[in-house]
Symmetry: C2
Subunit: 344 residues, 2 copies
DNA sequence: GCATCTTGCTAATCCGATTTAACAACGGAG
DNA sequence: CTCCGTTGTTAAATCGGATTAGCAAGATGC
């Protein structure tokens, strides 16, 4: 049975002052003249009693619960996207905030219900997050509220977005290939926007391809072909097998995600081709498999942690939120899957 | 600018009754005689105004915030353990509760600070979770509180624990091998408790091995050897390579975790041995790689979702919490890595 | 016809803080 | 000696609900 919590009234009584004085002393407000002696006695009493303010009670008056709601479609289940939550959480903690984490599973009704549950608990702000970078329409309950969109964009919805810089990542993939000397026999596996589950289309594929082609072209290289397929291991395996069976001999593969890379590794291995000796591979996302594949995969990392952190930093910043798009760099994880082009 | 929230006073005014009557009508209490007419008017007014009770304000009086705190060492970052959170979250939602998710990163001071932050917000209960199944000592702030231990055990701490049934999983691994006809040439890779980062020792390794050996022996089979190593891909690769280099010819490998299995696959592949033609592999955990390895890995799944769900169900159950240990079955994911023993 | 019960409703308090308005006590100016 | 401005402090109101105690009006009992 937890003993009754110490209240401010207890502190005031022990310090021999009124609750009002205790409140001012504890909140450290200077506009409300408290003698040093009184302040000291209150602080001392609070320390001795182990007083901690009841945030819930305080919020009734101040309207601030120091609490942020986090609504996502499926983000907690996505491999490694837990880093988004960790980034958000740590940034929140640094400013004495806590996070309500919720997941609607893509269900609009569940989403509304969750947002209501959050608002009923007086959250100060809401982070609306998506598993894939895509266009969304936030539930109407969020209109006019303090919101940051995480990993998604909502034209017409007045809130800042935080997204990975996919375009620049595409460019960096091209730069990495060019730097190793690749100018021909380059294939892209995974295509532009091949995830069937997202009708709005995912942004990642398009922007990665755009950046890739732009820099390749500028560097005097070209893409031999683009294979459209789902972003999973099975499809990567099948498409690369088919490519090889058709007689093509790629020197470099740009896989649109690590899962596809893993499938590509399997297909190349079965064909007796080595990475990066015969074929270089550069990838995107840096999922957990990327570092344990052999050879370790060179990939452009989704900056999960920084995405989560930036979202919270924006939300807890002063002043109104501007409807800008914040792009977070995707750092190159330079490992072992890119080599100099194989000589024929 | 969100317009002022509708309060119960607004509803009462619109319905032409006192706030007291509105409160009773809305809470549906039968012990406090409200005429059907009044009740109907209040409900109608609430509906029209879109009234939602302020949970924060209510909790000031009732002491219940319908909110649960979740404290873990690193669980949000563990691959796929997001399922724990999802299970907990969904169970919470079904009973109109929300979850504060926090992560202390193994830091005792941070842990205390987080628990305080939770208690300051008047959480009704706390789930104390660990990434690995192990012994823990919860922070003193949690003593006497409503707590459920998730994936950990704390002797002397009066709270229920929810853990995977590792012992039975070990037995099931043995049964799967016996059923396929394996009785000799069986090696265990990963050993008893080889994770260096957990000084308390992890329970999983020991119990898995115990169940494995027990059923193997009862079935007239035996373990040719146990290789102790870290639970990661690199070590699995190195140890299995060494095993083969030493001239051993295992017919079945029991890998203590999927990461080790992945390393084993790599080593076996390099040695020209096929799975399951030459060597069967059975594993534990069912991480995300298990299903995408080729051949797909047969493994005993860590029941993340059900662990999280059960913890919340216990916490939101009626009455006091008993200090019992709840073991959740680890279902066999029967895929393609076990075959009949190779003939010499 | 008067005392007693029900029935239906509401005034007043409380929960734990913050904040506004006001009030003593004191010192200096005139 | 009075007036006024500081300084330090506190009573009271407030936030949005839940709950206790009590109060009218009508029904019932004898």
């Amino acid at each position: 049975m937890p003993e009754r919590r110490v209240t401010m009234a207890d502190v005031a009584r022990k310090a021999g002052v009124s609750p009002t004085t205790a409140s001012f002393a504890l909140s450290g407000r200077t506009d409300m003249r408290i003698s040093d002696a009184s302040r000291e006695r209150v602080l001392e009493a609070a320390r001795e009693l182990g007083y901690r303010p009841n945030v819930t009670a305080r919020s009734l008056r101040t309207k601030s619960t120091q609490t942020i709601g986090f609504v996502s479609d499926r983000i907690t289940t996505t491999p490694f996207a837990g880093d988004v939550i960790r980034g958000a959480m740590e940034a929140a903690r640094e400013r004495d905030n806590l996070l309500f984490i919720t997941e609607a599973g893509g269900d609009r009704a569940a989403e509304s219900s969750l947002v209501h549950a959050l608002l009923d608990r007086q959250v100060d702000a809401v982070i609306y997050a998506s598993m894939f970078t895509r266009y969304v329409t936030p539930p109407k309950e969020l209109f006019g509220r303090r919101v940051v969109l995480l990993n998604c964009l909502a034209p017409g919805f007045d809130a800042p977005s935080v997204v990975p810089d996919e375009l620049e990542a595409g460019r960096d993939a091209a730069r990495a290939l060019l730097a190793a000397g690749h100018t021909e026999g380059i294939w892209a596996i995974g295509g532009h926007q091949a995830v069937p589950a997202t009708p709005e289309g995912i942004i990642a594929g398009n922007e990665r391809m755009r950046g890739l082609e732009e820099v390749l072209r500028a560097g005097g290289a070209r893409l031999d072909g683009v294979v459209e397929c789902d972003w999973d291991t099975r499809d990567g395996y099948r498409e690369v097998s088919a490519l090889l069976a058709a007689g093509h001999r790629p020197r470099a593969l740009v896989c649109l995600t690590d899962r596809v890379s893993m499938g590509a590794y399997q297909a190349l291995g079965e064909a007796g081709l080595s990475v990066p000796g015969d074929v270089s591979v550069v990838s995107f996302d840096d999922q957990d498999i990327a570092a344990v594949l052999r050879p370790a995969l060179t990939t452009l990392k989704l900056p999960h942690y920084r995405l989560g952190r930036l979202a919270v930093e924006l939300i807890l910043g002063e002043g109104p939120l501007e409807a800008a798009v914040h792009r977070v760099p995707m750092p190159l994880q330079d490992r072992a899957s890119i080599g100099t082009p194989a000589t024929r």
